[in-house]
Symmetry: C2
Subunit: 115 residues, 2 copies
DNA sequence: CAAATATATAACTATATAATAATATAATAC
DNA sequence: GTATTATATTATTATATAGTTATATATTTG
């Protein structure tokens, strides 16, 4: 009946968990346009140095980023093409929800004006 | 430069967070085949009553499920079509990763047999 | 080698939340 | 009404982790 084992589902859950932090999404968005080093990421995202470093480690270990040291600085690049497909799907869904909500609001307004 | 505001990203992060728990994914999978009541969900997932109830509340408030009381029991149904598209994308990605890993393993094996 | 800069790590605190046990609420049957 | 069953809620505990500060490591320059 329950085809998919909790073990497999926990892998999927882990993947989603990595995308469930605003700071990490900020970092990923900052890298959408291409490779950046840590200082650049810090500047764009306004996150602290240690914090960015820790998130970059998490994202890299999850196979979403690739680490490329160049001289004294380290560049990171997105290597998981799935990320933005996922974000786009979620965005579409959120937009849909907002539209539904506003439609309901309009109905309420219409009802109010009749009473 | 950083087009998308942290406010919007936090909405996206929240959505992912809901999908980042194995138990909730188990519940969603149990509902993939159609509407079920709480007892049925408990049986399929082997999760505790209070636990299931709480997760169902979270999923419903997020707009992923719809709650339908029928007599003494309450049925839940998936109303967010995005969920399984997201899971499928993640599964494909995880499979891809495993294939890459196993290819690397093969290379290591080949190297080992030559030395 | 010493100084400067960039990044990583360790230790810590605060917060969020999953799971559980106990209790409350709601609906039906008698 | 009372009893029974199904679900929800509350309180509690345990755990995970985000953010921060301080420190360590590594690379380049002089």
């Amino acid at each position: 009946m329950n085809q998919i084992s909790p073990q497999v589902l926990s892998r999927v859950a882990e993947y989603f968990k990595i995308l469930s932090e605003t700071s990490r999404l900020q970092i990923l968005c900052s890298l959408k346009s291409g490779s950046k080093n840590v200082s650049e990421i810090m500047e764009v995202t306004n996150l602290g140095q240690a914090n960015v470093s820790k998130h970059l480690r998490v994202l890299t270990q999850a196979g979403m980023l690739e680490r490329q040291p160049k001289g004294v600085s380290v560049f990171y690049e997105i290597v998981d093409p799935t990320i933005f497909e996922l974000c786009d799907l979620v965005c579409d869904r959120l937009i849909g929800q907002l539209q539904t909500d506003s439609a309901k609001l309009e109905q309420l307004k219409a009802f109010h004006s009749k009473t």
